[in-house]
Amino acid sequence: MRVLVRIASWLYALAVYGFIFLPVVVLVLFSLQATSFPIPPFTGPSLRWYDAVLSDTRLTSALVNSLLVAVLSSLAAVTLGFLSAWGFARFTLPGSALLRGLITLPLTVSYLIIGMGLLVLFNWAGVPKSLLAAGIGHVVINLPLCFAIIYSQMGDHQINIERAARDLGAPEWKVLLLITVPVMAPAIFAGFFLSMTFSWDEFVISFLLTRFDTTLPVEIWNLLRSGLNPKTNAIGSLVFAVSIVLVVLFELTLLRRKPA
């Protein structure tokens, strides 16, 4: 009975792993062949389409745009999230629960609706479509996330350390920079990296709010109009690689900083 469960478990787990990795393997495999269609039989390996991607200035500038938007919007989201989390955790504010609810509210609304709302507002206010507009949208989706992560990690332990610093005469800004930020670093990193991955991946808000200069997911979307295209495989594999690097970095920082 035990053995049967074990064998069935292995088979099932293998099948699910297979299902999860099938599209990724197909994507990467057929990015490595020189033919004009990314379909079987496999005839590689060749780096022809990686060459084509890296010499395509639209794709490379979109990649730079995506990184720029991801880094800057995540910095803004984590800063706003951290300051507000600190404010709500340390001080008693009137209507605190309601205001915290307001900050986390965007988590419950789909990106499509957040993007639609900003599109309508910017259209009325005469704000042109741009990377900045998309970045503003990315802060809207990531701020509640950063707030929730950092707020949930602010416990009594941290309050006591801060109180000690204050008792020893440190002014408020010094407590913030020298005590709170270092103590909260794991949560701040977690918020920042998660925001980076979400912004890097985000499509619909960027699609609605940018026009000529755009982010990588939107540029990949434009490539899709030509159907199955090995260039899409190559750029997709590169995007996958970047995401993996981000996730591994994220795991490593969290593991390294976790007290034993």
Partner: protein, 281 residues
């Protein structure tokens, strides 16, 4: 309060105002603008309820909502049924020291670009993709099957994503269960099957509900997967919304449809609110 009197009022507000202001300006205000826009006519901008009545009276719009609900329900059920045993195996059968690695591997493609993931499924399912090639080479089918641009393709793409998401949440849930529950059940004479059915499953049910609700919300609002994999053979709500913007620049109608979609999600939330008590560990 351990805060000095002179800045005790100003400081906390200075800390929380930027985040609150951002949320009000770029989340609440846009939402109000969208609400206002949905009540105006596309031509001329006068007050009207036509955008909402159009949804109620035009069967093709209704159809999109029904399609969305059907696809979302199918995806949620299949994803939970696939993910639960998988998460259980990872949490109970895989040795402790390998669990972190096994879980990280299981959700690795979760972090790839959404657009790229859907495109990858298109590669797998297309007329001359790997599945059709394998089936014809094995002699199982004479003609390649029409797999892409179908509801089947949309559901497959969605299930792929949500199995990973649900594996994460259900795994976390199973690990949080105190071993003493299982020990108690065993001491009282319950076998493994009975312990699972009467102890483990009921205790993880709230976590499953939260995961299922998350699946529902993310699935019903997604544009990319149905657009890339399902094509335009049958429309889901997000496709209908984007169509109004793309083809005709009809912001009022797109706004009304977005609000209807959001209302449906809210109703679903209220309907299962009592099962969604998120408990802190």
């Amino acid at each position: 309060m351990g805060v000095t009197a002179n800045n005790s009022r100003a400081l906390p507000w200075a800390l929380v105002t930027p985040a609150l202001g951002w949320t009000l300006l770029f989340f609440v205000l846009p939402f109000l603008a969208m609400g206002l826009s949905s009540l105006t006519a596309h031509e001329g901008g006068s007050f009207t309820l036509a955008n909402y009545s159009q949804f109620l009276t035009d069967p093709s719009y209704w159809r999109a909502m029904v399609n969305s609900l059907e696809v979302t329900a199918i995806v949620t059920v299949i994803s939970v049924l696939l993910a639960y045993p998988f998460a259980w195996i990872l949490a109970e059968q895989v040795p402790e020291r390998w669990q972190r690695l096994a879980l990280m591997l299981a959700v690795l493609p979760f972090w790839t670009s959404y657009v790229v993931r859907s495109y990858s499924w298109l590669l797998v399912l297309s007329q001359n993709g790997v599945i059709n090639r394998a089936l014809t080479n094995l002699g199982l089918v004479a003609e390649p099957l029409q797999l892409a641009n179908t509801r089947f393709a949309t559901v497959t793409g969605f299930v792929h994503f949500f199995v990973m998401l649900l594996t994460l949440t259900i795994f976390a849930n199973l690990k949080q269960l105190s071993p003493s529950y299982r020990k108690a059940a065993a001491d009282l004479g319950a076998g493994p099957v009975r312990t699972f059915l009467h102890v483990v499953l009921p205790l993880t049910l709230p976590g499953i509900m939260v995961g299922a609700f998350l699946t529902f919300v993310l699935c019903i609002g997604d544009y990319i997967t149905p657009q890339i994999l399902g094509g335009n053979n049958e429309l889901l709500m997000p496709q209908l919304v984007m169509m109004q913007i793309g083809r005709r620049g009809d912001f009022p109608l797109a706004s009304a449809l977005s609000i209807i979609l959001m209302a449906v999600v809210t109703v679903a939330y209220l309907a299962c609110a009592r099962w969604l008590k998120i408990e802190r560990a």
